[in-house]
């Protein structure tokens, strides 16, 4: 028995409604957070911060955003990257046009802009559902980067449409080093994740799940469809917008509209399929998988074949592997890595016995 649920009684409703009801959960999440905020900055090096941890965190946040829409509210979207682009470009423009605006505020405003656009592109979801929705999200996916490329105003008339990160300074503290950018990203991602955890277990989240499972039935029992669906689009796009701003400013530093193309949307979609639709934890597992797998594959092929493998072949192999894993997960474990994790937890609860 590695941890026990026995003897933990809730004596108040408040205790029963907690996000982490079990003592073991509270302890492990707390330890993990302390480790992430204190241990990792002491132990990690610049390569780990810039190439692995920051993209992992940002992609987790993007996955979280899409998961709220697709996994919880059941609205399929292929336009995730477009809303990331909106967040990045809006945050950049708020920085540029309003002198002295705090960095965090510009991120939030970027997210809000993405959220408003999300509502606009979510409007068709009131009339149509399922696959048909792919088209209106694809319209966003192709229209938005085109606007950013075509109209120089958005990138301050940069000739190649590239935007550059502002100086990351909050309350006089400089966050421009790799460690600083990691800590900033971590703090934002943790805050938004806690918010999402609370959101999905409240009335908003329950309404989303009812709409996902069958929207006609949800309407019959009195759930306002318009508000529920548009709220899902707004909050999802807000998360994606913040993720886009982080992607541009704490991970890459400079970014062009082309960096938010359809393949980025697919990447985010793969994160939530592999990680688990309708799970918060799954986004982190899926993002870790998608960030680490290419690195692992490159290292393995270097180790076994030296540099004799053509990088093009490796890229194709990776594609095949991703595709095969997607199909495999959908067949064997449609709830993704998060479900595997839960199963492991249940095992650990009764270990070393079988049940």
């Amino acid at each position: 028995m590695l941890f026990s649920q026995a003897g933990q009684f809730s004596t108040h409703y408040g205790q029963d409604r907690r996000v982490f009801r079990l003592k073991a959960d509270r302890w492990s999440v707390g330890t993990l957070l302390v480790f992430a905020f204190v241990g990792v900055p002491l132990l990690g090096n610049d390569y780990w911060f810039s190439a692995i941890l920051i993209p992992f965190l940002v992609l987790s946040l993007a996955g979280l955003g899409l998961n709220l829409l697709t996994g919880y509210a059941g609205q399929l979207s292929l336009g995730a990257a477009a809303f990331m682009a909106v967040g990045a470009f809006a945050a950049y423009n708020f920085q540029l046009r309003i002198p002295g605006i705090p960095v965090l505020l510009s991120f939030v405003l970027g997210g809000v802009t993405a959220g408003l656009l999300g509502i606009f592109f979510g409007l068709p979801s009131l009339r149509i559902k399922g696959f048909y929705l792919i088209v209106s999200t694809l319209a966003a996916q192709f229209l938005i980067p085109w606007v950013f490329t075509k109209f120089g105003w958005f990138s301050n008339y940069n000739t190649s449409g590239v935007i550059t990160a502002p100086k990351l300074e909050i309350l006089g503290i400089d966050f421009d080093s790799p460690v600083g950018r990691y800590l900033l990203t971590l703090a934002i991602v943790v805050t938004l994740t806690l918010f999402a955890l609370n959101l999905v277990r409240g009335s908003v989240g329950r309404n989303w799940m009812a709409v996902r499972d069958m929207d006609t039935a949800a309407a019959v029992i009195g759930i306002p469809l318009t508000r529920t669906k548009l709220l899902a689009f707004a909050i999802s796009s807000f998360y994606l917008g913040i993720a886009g701003a982080l992607w541009a400013f704490t991970y890459l530093g400079t970014v062009e509209p082309h960096g938010f193309d359809l393949s980025r949307s697919f990447q985010v979609l793969f994160i939530i399929i592999l990680g688990g639709l309708g799970s918060i934890l799954g986004n982190f597992l899926g993002a870790a998988f998608i960030v680490l797998l290419p690195i692992l594959m490159t290292n393995l092929s270097d180790f076994f074949f030296g540099s004799s493998i053509d990088p093009g072949h490796l890229e194709n192999l990776r594609k095949i592997l991703f595709g095969a894993l997607t199909v495999l997960f959908l067949v064997k474990e449609p709830e993704g890595l998060a479900r595997l994790w839960h199963r492991m937890r249940e095992r650990a609860g009764v270990w070393p016995l079988r049940y």
């Binding site: 399929l76 696959f131 048909y132 088209v135 694809l138 595709g323 067949v331």
Partner: protein
């Protein structure tokens, strides 16, 4: 006015090319209710296989038959590894599975045959000629003729043969079809093989136009608005949708494009399809969905 008609006919003929891809979608959607995102990857795979076989020295017809055989094998493999284990799952899950499938097929095609651009010559000159003062492309007319033949033969298949009867039965109600002794698995293989054939035809025509290369798999995205406008379950709808998309996107590019900076061809069809959906959620020829709680 002549210029307008020229742009319009050019657009209509280009629309036929979109319809060719869309027909493959409709086939699979009709018979199994699956929105097959891998259709574009199949177009790429078929065209690349054909070109590479031809470059190995095989004559046209042998290469065509060999590619067709490979597409049938692919259909068998897809049925066994993807469709059968996922039977009775929600359409969204199946859609995502075909998304994974498209990655597999694209990766496989490029791993086997390389990623360089192959030229493809079908022996039809892509030269314009003049009819009544309007420039027409010979190649486009050829493509339109092929599409017409394809549509006629497919509707004959659906309406006049035993296989077509079972296809329609499965499309109507899979459970009832099973209970009268139709083998679902065989129907799926048949329909995926037919879609493979359609994607081979589309791949050859698109390949001759653009060169056989990775971007072929992206024509699938252009077929989406076509399907939306035509309706997912109608072959006639695919044709009409293709014509509408082709014509309006060319007209918009020529007349509206210069006003807002050009390059609007890339997103215009999606916007058009979205607006269309708001008015007619089931498309022009699609079946109206009736839901029960």
């Amino acid at each position: 006015m002549e210029f307008f008609i020229e742009v319009l006919t050019g657009g209509l003929l280009a629309g036929v090319m979109y319809s060719l891809v869309a027909i493959g979608f409709v086939l699979i959607y009709k018979a199994s209710g699956i929105f097959n995102f891998a259709q574009g990857a199949m177009v790429l795979f078929a065209a690349l296989t054909f070109v590479s076989l031809q470059e190995l020295g095989l004559p046209f017809w042998i290469a065509l038959l060999a590619t067709l055989a490979i597409m049938i094998l692919l259909a068998l493999g897809v049925e066994r590894t993807v469709l059968r284990p996922l039977v009775n799952r929600s359409p969204i899950i199946l859609f995502m599975a075909t998304l994974g499938l498209s990655y597999i097929i694209e990766g496989l095609a490029q791993l086997l045959w390389g990623a360089q651009v192959h030229g493809l010559d079908l022996g039809i000159a892509d030269e314009p000629f003049i009819v009544g003062g309007i420039f027409l492309s010979q190649f486009d007319l050829f493509a339109a003729a092929i599409a017409a033949v394809l549509v006629v033969s497919l509707s004959l298949l659906f309406n006049k043969t035993r296989l077509g009867l079972s296809l329609r039965a499965v499309a109507d109600d899979p459970l009832a079809a099973l209970s009268v002794g139709i083998r679902l698995q065989q129907i799926w293989v048949a329909v995926w093989a037919a879609a493979g054939f359609v994607s081979l035809v589309a791949g050859l025509l698109w390949g001759a136009r653009l060169g056989v290369q990775f971007s072929l798999s992206l024509v699938v995205l252009k077929a989406l608005p076509v399907l939306i406008i035509g309706g997912f379950s109608s072959i006639a709808g695919a044709i009409v949708g293709g014509l509408i998309v082709g014509a309006t996107e060319k007209l918009a590019e020529v007349y509206v494009g210069p006003l807002i900076g050009g390059g609007i061809e890339n997103w215009f069809p999606y916007l058009l399809a979205t607006l269309f959906l708001l008015v007619r959620p089931a498309g022009l020829f699609g079946e109206r969905a009736i839901e029960r709680v």
